[in-house]
Symmetry: D2
Subunit: 344 residues, 4 copies
């Protein structure tokens, strides 16, 4: 029989580390979507696409504007370097495409606000910033429990993003684009604070509004990579955000976590606390050896959040095909950058 399902036709812009993953997710792991096109100006990424995308019927472009004119294209996933996020997003919207843009929209607040304005001018298009943690099963359960009031009113949020140390110095190079550790790493944690603090915690009918920022402070050190200082960046940072209405979020980011990726969050309410990943582990295996009991943890962000990225692609696809609200609202993604760009 011939299939009767019509699937969302998606293109991916950028096939670097995250772009290649997004391409795979839309190609193989999002049943209601099909990957029809991809853009990259990079010869190495293009060679990868020859083997991994073209045989599956994906058309490659080395010109982004041309890709936007791919026949029947409905949506674009923007996964280029951060500095191009806003431009590609705006072009796609103006070409009438729905957009899933990797976080952050930009490290420049004015750019973010431009994206917001263009998005508002096209209310029929779905525009969403990909804050992947919001699609992780454990975070989703925590959020549902918070909304249902099981911890009372959310009051304190602690969240950290800790990467395994990469001795290659990649992140020092990357520092010139990343906007600094606070906006590059803690942007996830900031987003979580906005998400949980607007969750109400008393009933689902509470109108959800973004909490208003009262103060932001951040301090940092360069423990392993003194060269980061040249870019005004650090490899370990601590930040505190006070909100009006009696809520505080505090954050930690590190580029030198020894065993791997350890991102964790606690949402502390007046009646209880939800803890996500206090006890990190890759899976369910422990080794009992003469030197003690050992377990591994994920080696990088993707190992930890692979399924969340897949779920993100699925929910974005569903929102477009079924006309629903996108799960991450664009206003809060702009607000996250606004908090994140504070100087350390």
């Amino acid at each position: 029989m011939a299939p009767q399902i019509s699937r969302l036709r998606v293109a991916v812009s950028g096939l670097g580390r995250m772009g290649a993953r997004h391409a795979n997710h839309f190609l193989h792991r999002t049943p209601r979507a099909e990957l029809v096109a991809a853009f990259t100006p990079d010869p190495k990424e293009l060679a990868w696409a020859k083997t991994n995308l073209e045989p599956w019927g994906v058309t490659m472009y080395n010109d982004y504007d041309e890709m936007l004119r791919h026949e029947g294209l409905q949506a674009v996933c923007v996964a280029t370097v951060t500095t191009v996020h806003a431009e590609h997003t705006i072009k796609a919207i103006e070409a009438g495409k729905h957009v899933l843009c990797e976080k952050p929209l930009s490290t420049d607040l004015a750019e973010c606000q431009k994206v917001l304005a263009v998005s508002r001018a096209h209310p029929n298009l779905k525009v969403m910033c990909g804050f992947s943690r919001r699609f992780d099963a454990s975070y989703l359960s925590a959020h549902a429990l918070t909304v249902s009031g099981s911890i009372g009113r959310p009051t304190i949020l602690r969240s950290q993003t800790c990467d395994k140390y990469d001795p290659s110095g990649f992140f020092v190079q990357y520092a010139q684009f990343s906007g600094g550790i606070f906006v590059d790493c803690n942007i996830h944690d900031i987003d979580l604070a906005l998400w949980f603090f607007s969750a109400g915690g008393t009933s689902t009918s509470t109108p959800r509004t973004l909490p208003r920022v009262k103060s932001v402070m951040a301090v940092g050190v360069t423990a392993l990579e003194p060269d980061l200082a040249a870019h005004g960046d650090v490899d370990n940072g601590v930040g505190v955000v006070e909100f009006y209405d009696g809520q505080i979020a505090y954050f930690y980011a590190s580029r030198m976590n020894a065993p791997g990726q350890h991102d964790m969050t606690e949402i502390i309410g007046t009646k209880g606390k939800l803890s996500v990943n206090a006890n990190p582990t890759t899976g369910l295996l422990e080794s009992h050896l003469p030197s003690g009991i050992h377990r591994d943890i994920p080696q990088n962000y993707y190992e930890r959040f692979e399924m969340a990225f897949v779920e993100e692609a699925r929910q974005f696809t569903d929102a477009v095909l079924d006309g629903g609200v996108v799960p991450v609202d664009i206003e809060s993604s702009v607000e996250a950058v606004k908090i994140g760009v504070v100087d350390a």
Copy 2:
């Protein structure tokens, strides 16, 4: 562009609980396979397929033999009730199809041996019994560590399969077909014993042979469902298998685990122990409430092993397309039944 990939054309036999899942895995989660057909004689299952399979181009059959004649069909996944596993597997092999059969091949040892004989008569066809735990990431890591010698020689294996109590009495009904708790639940644990005890534990070049059984004993009780006794079954059972060459496996199966599914395994070697799921949890969330700290565990076998089933479909597909060895050899699957059919 038109896709140039040729994918494995698979049919699923039986669309009950597990059959529907297998159908989904081949349809949506195994990129190199396509689901072309499915068989079920059941009107309810057929109605489900109208909505969930036919729109994707899957042809439905209510006659198994007819389905085997579906044009271009290459492989069959047998997921009917256990009593039909062997018959459908044999028919599929004789029709020239590769087969992935749900465990166990049969609860009748003679039937299993018939499958083995037919399979051996068709050495060009891949025939594999779906022992899903062998595809779980934590078990795979444990096996790799065992093969690499990190725990010395595997000596003792403890393994349990504990289902959440189902007050509907389903498993009492099911007892007439299941072959008893030992072969129905502990068959997974028995399979693991065969897998790990043939893993060598000294080097990868060790010729892997199945361990030989010296003695088997099992005892059981009916704690919650006295009606099980009518089928000669129990709701809690303990079994011990001695092997020649100094290895012991011991098992526990229960149908009354309060919080959900808790399957766990320890592989104990002369230099260390590997523990899979000693510390069960659904994800990475814990709730700190006035009554203490709480976490959930998976509610059923599929919640625990969903990704393993997906991986099973992928590896079976790869083995067929690439001509490799199937990851679960059929001899050991027959041996598992041989151990499991011992009377309690």
Copy 3:
């Protein structure tokens, strides 16, 4: 001011590994007791006592009978080698002393029954076998929950005693006295089965009677110490005990646990399970290192159960001074040996 408290005057027999610890507990950690005397025929132990006991006012004896005549002596803690337990216990009772005897009473069932008879002939004296796990805080909580009915009727008990491997070969030497791994190690687990299975699980008013044994089986292997075979012993053993009234206990003992001591118990009832030490650890410290996350576990039985031994001394003292029932009844300690002496 002069103290007005009268304390129990205790002597310890045997100052080997456990004897020295018992002496310390009565001397320094049992406020209502005072250690007045100790017996050892061993010059090394005597030298230790010169430094550690005599300066605190403890009188040393190298003749057990003479020690029993120490003026004012009220109770004896028997901590000699197992083969002398019964003889010293009987002599102490006959001399009118209360007795706390290290487990087991004897590895010879007839000897145990003799102790029981002598004890019954002196109903005014407290005689208790030191099953230390019954005084561990986690086991005590588990027992209280079982008695209160929180897991329904206790049905299955799994328990293990796993020692760290001692390459000195000590336990091979010791095998000639120990009575075999089942009675030496699993005697604790057997005792727990008797304790929990007589706990009722419905209400505290249930008359507590010992469960009656229906069958016992045990198998074992010598994985690391083939010389154990000369003593009919093994270094890894599995045992299963069926009780009338639908209860099963199963045990594992090992002399080769790589990281240290791992004793654990699960009490499985019709409504829930209590798990003691599924997730072993020495304390609350974990190290996050490049090789993963690590934790230590206790290196020996005493590291794990030190506080239980102290509590045992305190509760024994209280029972004598206040005239209460001893927390471990002597009948069940004899029954434990009866189960434990089964041949592997």
Copy 4:
């Protein structure tokens, strides 16, 4: 035999919650010390002492100065309300007694410095502030590992003190004396930062000097007890301390932790992290119930740190009797207050 050991003669000042515990520790759990006297002006505490201390030979005083003249008295443990700590400590020193003073020395920095000056004027007397966490086995292991260099250079320290919510409003009353949550609760965490950041982390021969404070900030909210505001206090607070030489400590304190006491600390170095109590639990028991898996945590500070308080008494006693250095130097205890008194 008559004992030949000479023990340290100690008195306790104050028999409130902590004072009574200190009295017990010196009376029953510190073999080398004897409790000879105690002071309290409170009739209820005096009644308690009649039953619990006097029968053991402890002389009671309702006048502190008179107690200091108790014949043969060598040391005083000051455990009164915080506001009297400094005065009693100074008087004891001037009377020639060694002092173990409960934390903090004072909530007034000038008072602390006066204690320091008096202490320096009596170099032959041991004066120590009782920062109990430094005597907890897990913290001691973490410190030893830090000193040995196993985590490289300690760079970031995160530490929290979270009390179970006490609906009686006690801590609101107490707020007028406590000095605020930062100096009352986080003083422990601040002390840990000073301890670990002066631990070197490269070799034991590194001269240990206190890290120098660069900046301190703290913010807080009153989530459950608005009346705290009257005392300038909060029930949840977050603080960040920057040190020169690239080290940051950040703290959280809460009076509303739902399940009980949860104090935890992470010491993050350039090569690894040590985590104390990330995974809190009372003991080794978990309940597997229909509602999930549950465990309890300590209900208050003493349940968590009882053994640390005992060890503190022992080490103080040893330092006095053997003439060693006290394990907590008085300079760092003054520095902790200096950091803690910053305004929120």
